[in-house]
């Protein structure tokens, strides 16, 4: 199942384009689509209803994201009314980030989440600057709820990584 199942091809292309322009306010290289936050879009009689999955529930960026979406769609004439809902079923998991999204994160200096974290919370992350795996976890918690702080022992740069979030947790 993908977010655009309920849309026809033209609607999908148009809405995709707008959603792609809405970036994470704290990582402005990646869109909310690439982050895997968009669960479902419904368009009926000019009303667009979007269902989004928050990465972390206490994320203060959610209101900003909602405002950015509403603003972005004012330019779309097919959309006369709009609702944005944050839902948590299904839960957002870090494997929802697209391959393109992983590149965008790296571009920003953030290592994409690994597929699986060990039960100790340690995981292997490649340095986004030099690709070395000779890295250490400095702090599980970072400047935002979804990020951790690591250190690269090869190029001696601190960097961040997206926390792995999986269903087994």
């Amino acid at each position: 199942m993908t977010w655009h199942d309920g849309l026809n091809v033209e609607e999908k292309i148009r809405i995709n384009q707008v959603l792609q322009s809405v970036k994470d306010p704290e990582i402005d290289s990646i869109s909310i689509l690439e982050l895997g936050m968009v669960e479902r879009a419904e368009l009926q009689d000019g009303t667009l209803t979007l269902f989004l999955l928050p990465t972390f529930m206490g994320c203060p960026a959610l209101d900003i994201i909602k405002t950015s979406i509403l603003k972005a769609f004012t330019k779309v004439k097919e959309v006369k009314q709009m609702d944005v809902h944050f839902i948590y079923h299904p839960p957002w998991t870090s494997d929802r980030i697209s391959e393109e999204g992983k590149l965008r994160l790296k571009e920003f200096g953030i290592a994409p989440p690994m597929k699986e974290a060990g039960t100790t919370g340690e995981w292997q992350a490649a340095c986004p600057y030099c690709d070395s795996l000779y890295t250490t976890l400095d702090n599980l918690f970072g400047p935002t709820a979804c990020r951790s702080i690591l250190y690269c022992k090869s190029c001696k740069n601190p960097f961040e990584a997206m926390k792995p979030v999986s269903n087994w947790m």
Binding site: M57, G58, Y88, P91, G121, L140, F141, P143, I149, N167
Partner: protein
């Protein structure tokens, strides 16, 4: 819309949600008072992130109460008096003497033990809530549990390392364990409707949850070579029954100061 069945089903769900919401709300508030005062800068980042997550969890539970017609979630979190709160007393106890703005003499050992015990108890409740007969709560539990995973890793590291370091750290941790256990009965209590909660399959029975708690914590004590008593009390009151310390009202007065100046303001 979820089928709520009988009025007694709804009443029992509401009771459980208030406990979950109020626990996370006031503990997140106590956690946030450590900002700038934690032992080192990494801990400042970590603890504020954990407290932010925890406040997010409280917001989910208040949101579920709003959906059940209990009122607006900002009001539920900010406008209710201390006497109306259902949180466990342990969650409202101050971090130490002094005030966070003036001469804070906060107790890190007490904080670590409280957070460690609370996180494990919360995990055990959430695992049970995943099978709750009230589906929106079961969904919330799945989401919250993913975030709690990192909190438990964090507090377990502190708990173990401070005890293993010996000396004053170990001594203070052992004292803090006694202090937390004296209040911990309240955290494990599901309040006046406990039996109904289990009968309606909202959550497992109190004694089942308590047994799981002992089974989770005992091995940690064992690896640290310290004795596990596992006997919990209600020294400062029974929060699930509306008994609270004056400290709760003080904390709420501070926390809701901005809200009370303009309750209609958009956040």
């Amino acid at each position: 819309m979820t089928e709520l069945g009988t009025p007694s089903f709804k009443k029992t769900v509401v009771e459980l949600l208030y406990q979950l919401a109020d626990d996370d709300f006031i503990l997140a508030c106590r956690g946030s008072e450590w900002l700038g005062l934690a032992p080192h800068i990494e801990e400042d980042v970590a603890f504020s992130s954990i407290s932010q997550d925890t406040m997010g969890h409280a917001a989910m539970f208040y949101g579920l109460l709003e959906q059940l017609g209990e009122g607006n979630m900002d009001e539920l979190s900010h406008a209710r008096e201390g006497s109306q709160r259902k949180n466990a007393v342990l969650c409202e106890i101050p971090n130490g003497t002094g005030h966070y703005l003036k001469e804070p003499r906060y107790d890190w050992a007490f904080t670590v033990v409280r957070q460690f015990y609370y996180s494990i108890a919360k995990k055990i409740k959430l695992e049970s809530l995943k099978q709750s007969a009230y589906e929106p709560l079961a969904h919330a539990a799945v989401k919250i549990n993913m975030e709690l995973h990192y909190h438990i890793l964090h507090w377990t590291v502190w708990f173990k390392q401070l005890i293993l370091s010996g000396g004053e750290a170990k001594q203070r941790m052992l004292e803090a364990i006694i202090r937390v256990e004296q209040e911990f009965g309240d955290v494990c209590s599901l309040g006046p409707l406990s039996a109904e909660m289990a009968n309606l399959k909202l959550i497992d029975k109190e004694d089942v949850l308590l047994e799981r708690f002992h089974n989770s914590v005992k091995p940690v004590f064992h690896t640290l070579s310290i004795p596990y008593k596992g006997s919990f009390g209600y020294r400062s009151g029974r929060g699930r029954f509306g008994e609270h310390t004056q400290e709760l009202q003080h904390a709420l007065t501070t926390l809701t100061e901005v809200y009370r100046t303009d309750p209609a303001a958009a956040w």
